[in-house]
Symmetry: C2
Subunit: 124 residues, 2 copies
Amino acid sequence: MTTNGDPPLFYRKHVFVCLNEREEGHPRGCCLAKGAEELQGYMKAKARELGLKDVRINKSGCLDRCELGPNMVIYPDGVWYRCTTTDDIDEVLQAHLVEGRRVDRLMLKPGDDPPKAKPKVKTA
Amino acid sequence: MTTNGDPPLFYRKHVFVCLNEREEGHPRGCCLAKGAEELQGYMKAKARELGLKDVRINKSGCLDRCELGPNMVIYPDGVWYRCTTTDDIDEVLQAHLVEGRRVDRLMLKPGDDPPKAKPKVKTA
């Protein structure tokens, strides 16, 4: 058990890479159209190469930061990254997953929220 | 910033429900064949009804507990549940996501691991 009474984590770090697909021309775009599937596959293979057995690289549905993608979130830290190249992936793997550091230049920050829903127009 | 220097969480609780599909007859089975898609849709709609705006109910790829599914994991807690009915989902929503408690009877526990890979037979 952990100090808070929960069982130990099944994975030291659990990565969810958004692979959501939207129809072509959707104003928000989508991570899949920005190469997320290839990047997730690369990250998974590379994590195995690095021997990271206590880490899992999962696919996920829409993380709702479509405009900023390709996005991922790493738990239990709750740290979000935008990775667009395999070099970015390598950097997150080495810094965050191996060394426990952060990659500031790739992190999403407070305010990187979904666009606000348009306010409904009140009619008299 | 949080006490550890990371930005605040985008979601107070972030749920990932496994929707992985395997081919029919696969010995491990899969969460999709056990109704995971309907359960995830129900959970998402119900969370909205409950006004849980700081919670996200996501789909995920294979969480590698296929035999025990349908599975979900709730972060940042790293607590895993097996929910097979909408009653189970309601209980997790109310206890874990609203009240911050745990639903012991549905939780995966230490040892609920993927089956070990068969040892390779050494040939002389």
